[in-house]
């Protein structure tokens, strides 16, 4: 039995790296600094250790050969999930390049709200250490932040010391849209967050009015989405007078059509404040279970985020048409490779197509895949790299135990090699 300290987590997105984990054989227990997201994800037990073809246990080599055989004559394979570490994504993209597949990250539909805004007009963002040391006003838009990342407030807002904030407990937190589910946002001095509550689908209107107020435009309405315009006026003034205001949102929480326009209005509002001689920054929340990792590695390998196809021999990005579910529903896909090394509950969509699952040990299926290869989890079974929500910081994941499970990269590289041999011969 050993205790491993300073363990980084690939699960929560906010880059917590202070966990202490007790390792007993292959069982893990988070004994310090766990949370509702990280603790179960680390403690998930290993069940499968052996690959299966058609439900029968086979050697890894046999499973790899079968997967290559299934992919060999496909016209439009899809690699979905795409939830793994940097080396896993490198191998995944090599396989996609080889097989002409579509690559689609499981969280892309949410992330698309950010990408469309970024690719249309850009943004001004910041990162967690800047928040920790500079932020004096945090505006949370449409997101239950503590449910998303339970330790966000403890680590980045209610930290005892900050380099440029005298009294961190005097920081102001304002929620716009969704109200918080708990009290993590309550300051250590007892000050509760202000909540300007509205229905999530009213946010486009609310944010549009807020931007107009920031720009000093007249608003005739007295209320928008159930929020008094006078309250939004005060919020606009606070944003403009903050020393280092930060606006945060989770793209996936803005679950309505054309939510990219909300992200864009928020991002333009932030730019407006910076053009009015004050500082303000965005802080998009993400980074769970390899989503930023998928987009980063796909970004440098292809130029595009992780909803990209290789069917014409070169990468083509389409944030709508390259959607796994759409390709399955339309009949365009003729095989599915599902890759998810982090979460046993993130199972593939039900399909009658040939299905290869490269998944975290413990994954269970309503319909047995043609090939199932249980893999180790980055940061538990092998070392690796994962990106945090703020995209700049890649964390070095540790190997905590010897499970004998292969890594995603091992498996996908082996399939790619097998496929190369079949294509060349």
């Amino acid at each position: 039995m050993t205790d491993i300290t300073e363990v980084p987590s690939p699960f929560c997105g906010i880059g917590t790296d202070d966990l202490t984990i007790r390792v007993d054989g292959v069982s893990l227990k988070v004994i310090e600094n766990g949370c509702a997201v990280n603790t179960p994800a680390f403690e998930q037990a290993i069940t499968d250790t052996s690959a299966r073809v058609g439900g029968k246990e086979v050697s890894l080599e046999a499973a790899v050969a079968k997967a290559a055989e299934l992919l060999k004559n496909t016209k439009q394979p899809v690699i979905g999930g795409c939830a793994t570490d940097v080396n896993g994504m490198r191998a995944l993209l090599a396989l996609a390049d080889r097989s002409g597949a579509v690559v689609d990250n499981i969280n892309f539909t949410g992330a698309r709200n950010n990408f469309l805004a970024l690719q249309d007009s850009g943004w001004m963002n910041t990162t967690l250490a800047e928040v920790k040391n500079r932020c004096d006003l945090l505006l949370v838009v449409g997101t239950d932040l503590e449910a998303f990342a339970p330790r966000f407030f403890e680590r980045y807002l209610w930290n005892k010391e900050a380099m440029f904030v005298q009294d961190t407990s005097a920081r102001e937190v304002i929620y716009l849209g969704k109200a918080p589910s708990g009290n993590a946002s309550t300051s250590p001095n007892g000050q509760k967050a202000q909540v300007l509550e509205s229905a999530t689908e009213d946010l486009p209107e609310v944010i549009a009015v807020l931007r107009a107020l920031v720009k000093g435009l007249p608003i005739r309405a007295t209320s928008v989405g159930g929020i008094a315009v006078a309250d939004l006026q005060i919020l606009a003034e606070k944003l403009k007078s903050a020393t280092y205001g930060v606006v945060t949102w989770a793209a996936g929480a803005l679950a309505y059509r054309q939510a990219e326009l909300t992200v864009q209005t928020l991002s333009e509002l932030i730019k407006d404040i910076n053009d009015r001689n004050a500082r303000c920054s965005g802080l998009p929340l993400a980074g769970k279970e390899g989503d930023q990792t998928a987009n980063q590695v796909c970004g440098w390998t292809t130029g595009y985020p992780a909803r990209t196809r290789f069917s014409r021999g070169y990468p083509e990005y389409d944030p709508f048409l390259n959607d796994t579910n759409l390709l399955l529903d339309s009949g365009e896909a003729d095989a599915l490779v599902w890759v998810h090394a982090f979460n046993v509950n993130a199972v593939p969509p039900v399909t009658d197509l040939p299905l290869v699952v490269v998944g975290r040990s413990g994954m269970t299926f309503s319909k047995e895949p043609d090939v199932f290869i249980p893999v180790g989890t980055p940061g538990i079974d092998h070392a690796g790299h994962a990106y945090r929500m703020d995209n700049v910081v890649a964390i070095r994941l540790k190997k905590l135990r010897d499970s004998g499970l292969p890594s995603t990269a091992d498996v996908l590289n082996a399939i790619e090699h097998a496929l190369r041999e079949e294509t060349v011969c």
């Binding site: 970004g299 440098w300 083509e316």
Partner: protein, 555 residues
């Protein structure tokens, strides 16, 4: 395996060879002397009439790190103009302004380049820089770690810590981030922007720390020198792009007091305020200062006309320029109490007075600086132009008629504001070889690279001599990387993986005491998780690390 390259005309400034016909022998990846006695040649290349140089080295090119990936993500429409399909040897990807990593490697190699150095590695983003560079085939690579706007460093200055404390921190950071040089970008300015300062002159104080860019430059240049790092402090100066910044740059040169200093993309820092448009060339003054201050080296950061994207650590200046974004979308970031970045797409137009004069200022600089060992050929890829435009730039430097033909097509007012038409100089092949090979290797401190004498690694490029220098340099006949033939007739024929060049200056291990306390109190990562280990670069089975000697080391 013994390879002979027979009968080529060799330009090897590192050995003082200027266009002499001689054979080159390669064994086990390195250049060797002609074996004595009887020997068997396994493979011979007949290079009669061909031009032979060592592989080219780009000493300042943004090929790895977060801002580059933001630039990629920002510009899908640019990638769609230049899709790159996979082949049985090469991976697919995209090209033009900010190519994908694999395509970066292929296209550099296809122009005869065998090494590239990322000049803006944020310590906190160094993992990403190395991971991206780890996916660039063929090229050797390395990075200059960015300091000067990080709060830890500024706290050391404010606390009046001595030079030794600074040196320890700089050396420790170079180790942790796996760097071969140190860069400073808008010294202290990135930090000042976080305090809402919108400009920072050489002698202007940071609002919080009270230190000036001049202080920062002096302390960092001293640290680099005292640590024995070959590459002088790599400086992206104050006031990038601001008319009148030529004076800032001249003051920066004088102010460094003879310490070794490299001023990067100096074209962007050579602007006067004369003329009807209050924008003029300061290239002559800059060239004079460079010529008379032997401690100074520069690279140009030439702009060339067309669409590109600017990606910089200088979020203060990038924010100031955001209204020039074309297309109109841009990104800035404040980053981890460490640094920042700004990404602004640009379209340089020959009919824009400012852009046309920027073009002329860069060329004036190239042509007026006398010593090719102290000036380097860059476009600050992708900021002035994508690296794929180097052959065109080489033709502009080597062919006065061509240069003047292009000059006659740019904005007429810009033509009046440049002395370019009267400058007769044409670069020679040897001078090109100095700027892009021997000089670059010497500047960075690369042992065994950039030369063709025995003992060097066999990074070799073979061209067909052609009066059209653009055609000549865009399509080498052969490129060898570590002795392996990787390019034939301007196309990649095999893949080799280059090494990562670093230096490892010494530091007092007790430096980690203060750092650990700082990380625990203020940063978001544990010190132990911050430091990059060797296996992060080598574990994929392709990467390797090459440690270079420090000045004063016994070879």
């Amino acid at each position: 395996m013994l390879i002979r390259l027979t009968g080529g005309v060799v330009y090897d400034p590192a050995s003082g060879i200027d266009g002499q016909q001689q054979d080159i022998y390669i064994q086990d990846g390195r250049i060797v002397n002609k074996p004595t006695g009887d020997f068997l040649i396994d493979k011979e290349y007949d290079l009669k009439g061909k031009v032979v140089m060592s592989g080219a080295i780009d000493m300042h090119t943004h090929i790895g790190g977060g801002k580059g990936n933001i630039a990629r993500t920002l510009l899908p429409e640019d990638h769609r103009q230049d899709p790159v399909a996979s082949t049985h040897i090469c991976r697919s990807g995209c090209g033009h302004a900010m190519p994908s990593t694999f395509v970066t490697g292929y296209r550099y190699a296809e122009m005869g380049y065998t090494a590239g150095f990322e000049p803006a590695v944020l310590p906190i983003n160094a993992r990403q820089a190395h991971m991206e560079m780890g996916d660039i085939p063929i090229l050797d690579k390395g990075g200059y770690v960015m300091l000067g706007s990080d709060d830890y460093f500024l706290r050391l200055l404010t606390a009046k810590k001595d030079q030794k404390a600074i040196n320890d921190y700089v050396a420790w950071t170079m180790h942790s981030a796996k760097a071969i040089g140190v860069k400073v970008v808008n010294p202290g300015g990135i930090n000042a922007f976080k305090f809402n300062q919108r400009k920072l002159d050489l002698d202007e104080q940071n609002a919080h720390y009270g230190v000036t860019p001049r202080d920062i430059l002096h302390v960092l240049a001293t640290a680099v020198k005292e640590l024995g790092v070959s590459h002088p402090l790599h400086v992206h100066g104050c006031n990038l792009g601001v008319p009148g910044n030529v004076q800032t740059t001249l003051d920066t040169i004088q102010g460094i007091g003879g310490l070794p200093m490299h001023l990067t993309h100096i074209q962007f820092h050579s602007y006067g305020t004369e003329g009807d448009f209050k924008f003029s060339s300061g290239a002559a003054q800059i060239a004079e200062a460079v010529n008379s201050n032997k401690n100074i080296t520069i690279d140009v950061g030439q702009i060339l006309f067309g669409q590109t994207v600017t990606a910089s650590g200088d979020n203060m200046r990038q924010h100031a320029n955001h209204k020039l974004a074309s297309p109109n979308k841009w990104v800035t970031m404040d980053i981890e109490c460490d640094a920042g970045c700004g990404v602004v797409p640009f379209k340089y137009k020959d009919q824009s007075f400012v852009n046309a004069l920027q073009w002329a200022i860069g060329l004036e600089t190239f042509l007026l600086v006398n010593d090719p060992w102290r000036i380097f050929l860059t476009t600050d890829h992708p900021n002035g132009a994508p690296f794929t435009s180097y052959p065109h730039l080489i033709r502009l430097l080597m062919d006065r008629t061509f240069r003047n033909d292009v000059l006659s097509t740019i904005h007429p007012e810009a033509q009046k504001m440049t002395t370019l038409a009267s400058i007769e100089r044409e670069y020679t092949l040897q001078e090109i070889a100095i700027m892009t090979r021997a000089g670059a290797a010497k500047l960075i401190g690369l042992k065994d690279r950039g030369g063709l004498s025995a003992g060097n690694w066999a990074d070799i490029t073979v061209y067909t001599d052609n009066a059209d220098r653009q055609k000549m340099f865009e399509k080498p006949d052969y490129v060898f990387k570590d002795g392996q033939l990787v390019v034939v007739d301007g196309k990649v024929v095999s893949i080799k993986w280059g090494t990562t060049h670093v230096v490892q200056p010494n530091f007092d291990p007790s430096v980690e005491k203060g750092l650990k306390d700082y990380f625990d109190r203020y940063l978001t990562m544990k010190l132990s998780n911050f430091k990059i280990s060797d296996d992060e670069i080598t574990e994929d089975g392709r990467g390797s690390i090459t440690v270079h000697p420090l000045n004063g080391d016994v070879a």
